[in-house]
């Protein structure tokens, strides 16, 4: 007990010293006139998760913005608050910050959190918070309707969209060659994925197919797993105002999981591991995974030869990509042959900010054409929210061009309602059950039962 107390004491002293130092650091920045301090946060950190984004903010946005403000006679200092954790943990941290009336002035959130954050009062419509500048922002005219929609809740704009993305099947061309599969592989139905997996397996590939499942991967299981499969079977998690229960489409989607993980074509243990998703990235980069379903983030942030978390020096030669097929041609959502899912981050102003106008200026600055071009140069291309910028930057980037030309036209979005994350968690549990050996029908029925509790009764569910 004594040791425990003493160590607590030591920690307290260290913490106090740290605070003292921090205080010194920030006070030295002050000067004449009204000094304004802004903070900006993303789930990004130099040398780790989304390193390119963190580097861009710290090394370009902050100095440029401070200089621009200085030219206007304003003394503004900006600090970046990095973070490099799973998205769910980042969300918890943000919610707790906002609940206690704190948090960074400008913050990135996942588009799908907008509903629940807005209902909780954690974010406010920009026009209320900032004023008419928000609605008059010159970028709006450049942003497509579907992307604008992600930033809206109840018809009001709560944030500026940071971009959008799409999901594809990545595959390792070197392993495909070993297994006698073509380098321009494009499956037309699920059976072709299974067939390719079987060939990869007999060619000795340790993990032929990786399609995220289980609860440990969180929303990654929904976005890069069960939702694209559901769309491929012609279903949607919510259709015409009603939630989808134990539908045939869901049973089909879960059935594919069963074929992959019950048939030895995937690694069921990997889906359970606390760091399973990171490990699947690592294994893909090491040439142990044949086919992997992921968003364009995988190409940009994971196997990126420059600053990915699992770099692949030969990415451009070895990594192939294909569209996600429907179960059978024409059986997908809206009768499509191919499907995808899209989401995207939002950037907004914290209602607790003391300087909402300056914070919005910073926010708009990060999404100005110059900033977006700077952010996406040197191989960091992503689909930005602005069509004017996309036209210029996507030209030299094969995957992103592929996403914006072929994938985005067939994509689907998650329902923008506050209760969605809970529904998504229930879907993840259903995949976990199937990977663990539960028959798909039984898992689908259990999902429907859980769904009834979440969305307020069977009346809101179409079966």
């Amino acid at each position: 007990m004594a040791v425990r107390k003493r160590s607590l004491g030591v920690v307290a002293v260290l913490a106090a010293a740290g605070l003292g130092l921090a205080a010194c650091g920030s006070s030295s920045g002050g000067g004449e006139g009204e000094a304004i301090e802004l903070t900006i946060t993303q789930n990004a950190i130099k040398g780790g998760k989304n390193a390119a984004g963190a580097t861009f903010i710290e090394d370009w946005v902050i100095p440029e913005f401070e200089a621009a403000q200085k030219a206007k006679g304003k003394d503004v200092t900006v600090k970046f608050v990095p973070s490099g954790v799973d998205d769910e943990q980042y969300k918890t941290k943000l919610s707790l910050d906002l609940k206690s009336g704190k948090g960074a002035d400008v913050m990135d959130i996942d588009g799908i959190w907008a509903g629940e954050f807005a209902e909780a009062g954690y974010i406010k419509p920009l026009s209320e918070l900032v004023g008419p500048e928000a609605d008059n922002w010159d970028g709006w005219s450049q942003i497509p309707e579907a992307v604008q929609g992600m930033a809206e809740f109840d018809g009001k704009k709560y944030a500026l969209p940071v971009g959008t993305d799409g999901r594809v099947l990545y595959f390792n061309k070197a392993l495909f060659q070993q297994a006698g599969l073509p380098a321009d592989w494009q499956p037309k139905g699920w059976q072709e994925i299974i067939d390719a997996g079987t060939k990869l397996k007999s060619a000795g590939v340790p993990v032929p197919i990786q399609i995220n499942a289980g609860t440990a991967m969180g929303e990654a299981t929904s976005m890069q797993g069960v939702l694209p499969l559901l769309a491929g079977a012609g279903g949607e998690v919510r259709q015409d105002g009603k939630w989808t229960g134990a539908s045939q489409a869901l049973k089909d989607a879960l059935g594919l999981y069963q074929k992959i993980y019950g048939g030895g074509l995937g690694d069921p243990k990997l889906q359970q591991e606390a760091k399973g998703r990171d490990k699947s990235f690592q294994q893909f980069a090491e040439g142990k995974v044949g086919i992997l379903m992921e968003g364009d983030y995988f190409w940009r942030g994971v196997v990126n030869p420059k600053d990915g978390v699992a770099k692949m020096d030969d990415r451009d030669q070895v990594v192939g990509y294909a569209m996600i097929p429907a179960m059978e041609p024409g059986k997908g959502l809206r009768g499509q042959d191919f499907v995808s899912m899209s989401g995207g981050a939002l950037r907004t102003v914290n209602p607790n900010s003391e300087h909402p106008k300056e914070a919005f200026e910073l926010l708009a600055f990060t999404l100005s054409p110059e900033a977006l071009k700077e952010e996406t140069k040197d191989g960091n291309v992503r689909v930005t929210p602005r069509t004017d910028v996309n036209k210029e930057i996507l030209a030299g980037e094969p995957l992103l061009t592929y996403i914006s030309e072929k994938v985005l036209p067939v994509t689907a979005y998650r329902p923008p309602v506050a209760v969605y994350p809970q529904v998504s968690a229930a879907l993840q549990e259903a995949t976990a059950a199937v990977v663990g050996g539960t028959p798909p029908d039984q898992a689908a029925t259990a999902y429907q039962k859980k769904l009834e509790g979440i969305v307020g009764g069977a009346g809101n569910i179409a079966s």
Binding site: M1, T92, Y122
Partner: protein, 310 residues
């Protein structure tokens, strides 16, 4: 009033005040004594009683971390508590917690801690210092550091243990999550028991052990008939403390994150998952209330045992 002024009453009052002063050794009087205790009581009220009551209250609402219920929580009565006791996940967590406490605290730490203390009781010199140093090191290192080391040790693909045993790919944390965290917590917390028993054994009069030995008592008989009766109070106090600590311990989360699929989701992790990850603060508070009650029951049980000695 008339009675109060009558002589017998006056005598009684005198007696009472005299008795009062006699128990007031410092001579402060109730008011000044109260003033001295007030800061401590205020701290306890602010940091212990108020949060506990607040948890009780939150447990009766549908308060959430996000969404509409975060802005305007509704009073839902006992619904959360009823949900919890009818939820198999909750009972699963309770059962896992019981295994965790019995396995790692009551059996692991006590037996290992006592064994080390007993074996080192008459020794001095570098060996004793080395063993004690290592055991205490496991206890004082920060949880985050230690958990990282254990994940590196038990990892399926690049883990040290698998490399040593020559069984690459054996998923300890996935196939034996409870065993993993029980062994971890035994290793982690043995130091406290070891030090407590080390001190307690110093209080066993050597003459008693000597006479037992002269009477021909075996090692086990010495332990049972001489040592244990002397340190019974220490054992119970130790059990009380480590049971409660282990019951509320969160570090298993850093190793298995409650997984796979909830198979190592002890109650502390369960509360974190429902309250902060799923955002159901009201339900989480209701589960915390139940944990509070279980803690009270455990504490009362041990304190009863302790008193029955006297």
């Amino acid at each position: 009033m008339a009675q109060a002024t009558s002589p017998p009453e006056v005598v009684k009052e005198d007696e009472r005040t005299r008795r009062g002063y006699s128990s007031d050794a410092a001579g402060l009087g109730n008011l000044r004594a109260g003033a001295f205790v007030a800061p401590a009581l205020l701290l306890i009220a602010a940091f212990l009683v108020f949060p506990a009551l607040w948890v009780l209250y939150l447990g009766l609402t549908n308060y959430r971390l996000t969404g509409a219920a975060a802005a305007e929580p509704q009073f839902v009565g006992l619904a959360n508590l009823l949900d919890a006791v009818s939820n198999p996940t909750f009972w699963n967590s309770t059962w896992l917690t019981l295994q965790f406490v019995l396995g790692s605290a009551v059996i692991g730490q006590v037996v290992l801690g006592f064994s080390i203390a007993w074996m080192l009781r008459d020794r001095a010199g570098p060996l004793k210092r080395l063993v004690e140093g290592l055991v205490i090191l496991a206890w004082i290192l920060p949880s985050a550091v230690v958990s990282f080391l254990w994940v590196a040790l038990l990892d399926r693909d690049g883990g040290t243990l698998n490399a040593l045993l020559g069984i690459p790919g054996f998923p300890w944390l996935l196939d034996h999550p409870m065993l993993s965290i029980i062994v971890f917590n035994t290793w982690r917390g043995t130091a406290f028991s070891m030090m407590l028993y080390g001190a307690a054994l110093g209080n066993v009069p050597p003459s008693h052990l000597e006479s037992a030995r002269l009477a021909g008592a075996s090692g086990w008989q010495q332990l049972r008939d001489v040592v244990f009766p002397h340190i019974r109070g220490h054992i119970l106090t130790n059990l009380l403390l480590i049971s409660l600590w282990t019951f509320n311990d969160f570090s298993p989360f850093l190793i298995t994150a409650g997984g796979p699929d909830g198979r190592s989701e002890v109650l502390a992790v369960h509360v974190y998952k429902v309250a902060l990850q799923s955002g159901e603060l009201g339900y989480g508070a209701a589960v915390s209330t139940i944990i509070l009650l279980i803690n009270l029951v455990v504490a009362v049980f041990y304190l009863r045992l302790l008193r029955s000695k006297k």
